[in-house]
Each structure stands twice: as structure tokens, then as C-alpha cells.
Symmetry: C2
Subunit: 375 residues, 2 copies
């Protein structure tokens, strides 16, 4: 049952192709397909289909880890922020999750929890719940600095844990910023050089641009969903990534403006010529960015065929449930015409760029009231 005509469609074959593309770039590495935030808005169900060839899934919501196990994901799962409280360790064990440790308190919790477990549960934990110790190599968000890292490593090894190594880059999509990938990579390799264990550092931008960082496990995220790590479509135009999601709706009204008439809240658009305005059933309460200014692109189809259409541009402020587009130059735009807000005909990066944000934010923001179908 769907009433408003807005609909998101998840294209699992494209997710699959994007993963293959990432793995082809890094043939020596295994992969953590990053599926946090409900697979960046694409749903865990779709991610399990699209990323069945990945060695593991990485996320941070234990609820989603539980869902993945329920849907019979039997390979690895990594909790990217580890535990938030001591009680989470029961779930980590039950779901057999690898988990990040980025903070001393997580070690304190682990030690105190571990002591209270039966020998069988201790053995099960040590066998199935590897630790990925997180180094703060310069991003200054989560992780141990180098001096504390070695101590944490030894404590965990002494418990009998399998410990691997992980860090995260601040500027893999922008070589002009400091800390650079190379400086963070140098800090990481130096801090971990005498320690056994696997290494994981490369996010999507590093997969595409910094082969020296691919190491044992890559962590592709945004690229799996077909969007650009930098937020700029040109940066991935030649890579061959495909849209993971389409967001489509319909024209629910046409308004003909005379010269001087306005449209929408705050009268942000005034017609300088006679103007044909299409009202589309999509607003910021569907997840479309309210801050999209006049001129943000929208693909308008003809009533019979979406692909048989053309680009138009927003005119007037995006409101909660609707947006308005200048379709004066598109004679086929009429009541009921299908529209693509982003997807295969209009890259999400182009919409995000116009709205001053990145594809990540748009795909995560698609609201619960939007019906999602998985194909």
C-alpha cells in the first residue's frame, strides 16, 4: 500500500558491481563492506544481497548486527565503534562480532566482563571475537595515540585476544589538507610495526587514490553506494560506480506563473517571464535537503517514460512535503509525470553538491515514510 507517489528503489546488482569494482582495485585485500546507518539508508536486507561477496560487514549498531545474523549472514561482522557499555559484550559474544577498541574504558569493561564469564564462554569469545585496536593517527576523533597504543595492545594480548590494527584517514579525498594520508599512514605503520595482526586503514577515497594503504582489509563505504567520497561527481565520473539507490516521485500539480508572481514559502523565486512550475511530491520530510537553493537539478520524465525526459531546476524553497521546479522548457512535463530526484539518470552527487552537502548525507536521510523497494 503506497499512497504518496515517492519511492526509493535499492539496486542490489549495482551494489554488487560496486563491491566488485573495489575488490578489483585491491586484489590482495579482504574487505569490510561498511553498512552502518542502515547501509547508508539502503537497508541491511539489500546490503546482504549486494555484499554477499565481502569477507565481512562493518557497522556500529548492534541492532543491525543482530538483524544481519537473523538474516543468515555467517561471515564476519565488525563493530566500528566497539561497545558503548559493558552489557554490550554479551551481545558481541552472542553475535560473534569483531569489535573495535578505541578507548581505555572499553578495555576496563572487557577485563571486568571477561573475568566473570565461564571458561567455555571465555574460549568462545577469544576464538570468535577478534579485536581491532584503533590508532588515532591524526584525525583526533577516536583511537589511542601511539604511546598508549602499545600498552593497550599488550594488555589485550595478555588476555589471550586476537588483536588487529585499524586507523582512519581524515583527508583521503583531499590532498591539500593536513594531516595527509601519507603522514597518517606513516604514524600507523610505525606504531604497529612490531606487532602481529592484520591491518585496516583504507576507506573509499584511499581505495581509489592511495594504493599503499590498502593493507589486509579495505573498508569501502560510500563508493559501494555509487557516490563520490569527495562529494564531487567529476572525481568518480570515470571510475564506473553505479547508483545504489533511486529516489523517484511524480508531479502532483502544475502552476502557471505570470511575470512577477512568486512561489512557495518566503517567496524565494519570482517569475521573470511566464513560468510553468511543476509541484513534486517530495519535501524535506522525505529527506530531500531543505537547503537546496534555486537551480538544484531534478530529472523530469514524460508521463509515459521516465528516461524520455530532461533536466529541470528547482524554483522556490523546498517545503516539508513538496518542492517546485521550473519546467517551462519541458513541454512534456504534466500532471502525473514521473520524476527522479537522484539515482541512475541524475547522480546523487550533483544534487548534494548543489545543496552544499555530500551524497552520504542525502542517502542516509531518506525518511521512514518513503517506501523502499529492493530489486
Amino acid at each position: 500500500m503506497m499512497h504518496r507517489p515517492i519511492q526509493a528503489t535499492i539496486l542490489t546488482q549495482n551494489l554488487r558491481d560496486n563491491l566488485r569494482l573495489a575488490k578489483n582495485i585491491c586484489r590482495q585485500s579482504s574487505s569490510w563492506a561498511v553498512v552502518k546507518a542502515n547501509a547508508y539508508g539502503h537497508t541491511i536486507e539489500a546490503a546482504l544481497q549486494g555484499f554477499s561477496e565481502s569477507e565481512g560487514l562493518a557497522l556500529l549498531e548492534l541492532e543491525s548486527a543482530g538483524l544481519a545474523r537473523k538474516l543468515r549472514w555467517q561471515k564476519k561482522i565488525l563493530l566500528l565503534e566497539g561497545i558503548f557499555s559493558i552489557a554490550d559484550l554479551d551481545e558481541v559474544l552472542r553475535l560473534h562480532c569483531d569489535h573495535v577498541i578505541h578507548h581505555e574504558e572499553q578495555i576496563t569493561h572487557l577485563l571486568s566482563w571477561f573475568k566473570k564469564q565461564s571458561a567455555d564462554r571465555q574460549a568462545e569469545f577469544l576464538e570468535h571475537c577478534s579485536i581491532w585496536l584503533k590508532l588515532n593517527s591524526g584525525m583526533n576523533r577516536l583511537g589511542f595515540k601511539s604511546a598508549a597504543y602499545g600498552v593497550a595492545f599488550e594488555v589485550l594480548k595478555n588476555m589471550g585476544c586476537t588483536v588487529h590494527h585499524l586507523t582512519h584517514f581524515a583527508n583521503a579525498d583531499d590532498e591539500t589538507k593536513f594531516p595527509s594520508v601519507q603522514s597518517q599512514w606513516d604514524v600507523f605503520t610505525k606504531a604497529t610495526q612490531f606487532f602481529a595482526g592484520l591491518r585496516s586503514a583504507a576507506n573509499s577515497a584511499a581505495i581509489l587514490h592511495h594504493p599503499q594503504t590498502h593493507a589486509d582489509f579495505i573498508r569501502p563505504g560510500i563508493m559501494l553506494y555509487g557516490a563520490s567520497p569527495s562529494g564531487i561527481y567529476q572525481d568518480i565520473a570515470s571510475v564506473g560506480l553505479k547508483a545504489g539507490m533511486t529516489l523517484r516521485s511524480k508531479i502532483i500539480a502544475i502552476q502557471d506563473l505570470q511575470v512577477g508572481e512568486q512561489v512557495g514559502y518566503g517567496s524565494q523565486f519570482t517569475a521573470t517571464k511566464n513560468t510553468k512550475i511543476a509541484v513534486i511530491a517530495c519535501g524535506y520530510a522525505d529527506g530531500y535537503p531543505r537547503h537546496a537553493p534555486n537551480g538544484t537539478p531534478v530529472w523530469i520524465g514524460s508521463r509515459s517514460h521516465l528516461t524520455d525526459g530532461g533536466l529541470a531546476f528547482t524554483a522556490g524553497r523546498v517545503s516539508m512535503d513538496m518542492m517546485t521546479v521550473d519546467v517551462s522548457h519541458l513541454p512534456f512535463a504534466e500532471l502525473g509525470s514521473p520524476v527522479e530526484l537522484w539515482g541512475e539518470l541524475l547522480p546523487i552527487d550533483k544534487v548534494a553538491y548543489s545543496a552544499g552537502t555530500v551524497g552520504y548525507e542525502l542517502m542516509c536521510a531518506v525518511a521512514p515514510r518513503v517506501h523502499v523497494s529492493i530489486v
Copy 2:
């Protein structure tokens, strides 16, 4: 089961008080409490508790109308955009909804559907499903222009429908913009002057600022949730509205930056002195605005008491699951300290204003992965 410490709480007593406040301003009017978009993110369940004194609920999702009926809402429901397809009319009848007609095609659908119904169902429809005909009085989004309005009215009356009158203001929160409330109100009263039926025009801003427009049914929306129609907190500071929602989380790490060190993606913050950074479990995939610049306010509590705290300001780009705040001046800020992103201690309008948006967008954007509790 809640793992990440972020949580939204809906304060139904505050919703109730806000509705009373609106009704006290307009004692001659009935009210449509606007609960579209999942009650602006507050949930239909909470809205039914908070707005039990309203004569009706207004929304646009038939799914939510169905949920309200299932939860035993027996008073009026108004579909603000009416039907999207002919099949919706079966639901309109089943749920006994009043519904807007803003477009000729909706009338065509109604005529053709009505003819096919049994006499009993026709009578039931005419008795329980009043129509609110929408006039486009200058916003140029939805509705008939004055010339077409009279024709639509007569056609519907000839069917035997009860027909009421509705319009919507573009600039009720800003008297400097055209079309003005008064100009739209004049168009509305003139177009409907010879017609029987009730009248509804006033949104929150018009309720607060334009008493001449209150008419038979007010349509309070944003004010019910405790935020400012204009997006500026000062505009409602003395009105007495209360927060409908709090969004709270915790500090999950502290980083001490040396002079010259950066934090986060794109290195958008560089320490100009030794700086204590709190990492908070809340990111744009929770619904916090990614476009919030450095300096957006966050309320930081002490580990034992949220209210025993102070304001701090974001430092570095909001990322998908985390944000970073300069807490150098707050000695009590530590791992585990509670945080309010917006709510009773920090008005949502202040956060929205800093991020270049309005409270409406933030409250609607709270993501499904955020646990919501209703109190």
C-alpha cells in the same frame, strides 16, 4: 535494548500545553493539529496523547491516518493533499477522512469513483468525508485560482458533498515579503464570500501574528512542537511554547589537541590553543545537520547531572556517526557525560539557526536508528 547512547524523548505534556496555548489565542476557532511527517518526527502515538483535545488531526499520509484510527482516534482527520490516486478514495471512506481537493484531476477521480459506489457507500461518503477545497491565494504551490475555484465548488456541491474552504500562507512569518498574509486573506475571503462552508487558513505564524485569519479552523503545526515558525528563537521566546522533543546522547571519547592539531574530516578545525575535544555519539546519520558549522551550540552536562552543565560549541565537521565539540572551558566534561543536542536546555531553533535551517527540518530528520521514548 539500546546500545549507542543517543536517544530522542517526546514530551507529551509539552505537546498538550502547546496545543492549549494555540487554542487560547484563538478561542473562537476549532483546530486541526498538524501531524504530517510522523508528527514532525514526534510519532503518531505521541501526537494522539498530546493532541487529544484537538477537534481534528491534519496530515497527508494515509498510512498515518490508518494508524491513528487503529489507535482509536475517533475525531476528525484531514488529508492535507487529498488523494494521490483513485484507489485512495476507498481508504478515505474506510477511515472517514476529510480531504483536500486542490486539483481538477482529484475531482475527476472523485466523480468517477463515486458513480461506482453503492447507494449506502455514497451516503456514507457524503456524511463522513467532507471536502476542503483549496484556494491558491498566491503561494502558487497547490490549489485552484479564484476563477476555477467557484466552478469546482459548484461541481462538488452538485454531487451532494459538504464543502469547506482552505488556503495556505507563503509568508505568515515575514511581513516584508510578497504575497503578504493580508493580500492572500483578501483573495481568500473574496473568492469564498458567497459560498457556504467553514474556513481554514491560519498556520502557526498566522495564529501568533494575524488574528484576522483565525477563522473556523486553525492549523497549528510547528508551534505544537515548541519551535519557531520563522526559525528564529527570539520570535517565540516570550510566547511560552515548550520543547516537544529532546535529543540527547553522551560523550564517548575525549581528545586533547595540541596547538596546530586538527580534528575530523577535512580538518575543518585547527587548535589555536591546547584544546579539549569531546566526541559525541551523534552524527548526520542520526539526523543532526551535517552543514552545522564550527560554533554550533551543544549542551554538555556533568557525568551525574545533565542540567548541571553548560554550553559548548562544535569544532570540526559533523561526521556520519559522531560530532566533536570544544569543551576546554568545561572541566566537568568527561567520558560518559550526558549531552543535549536540542530540547529543553537548548532550543532546537538555536541549533537550526546556526546550521542555516529551521527547527522543522531537524525534528523531521531524526533517523530511525535513534531510539524514541514517549513520556
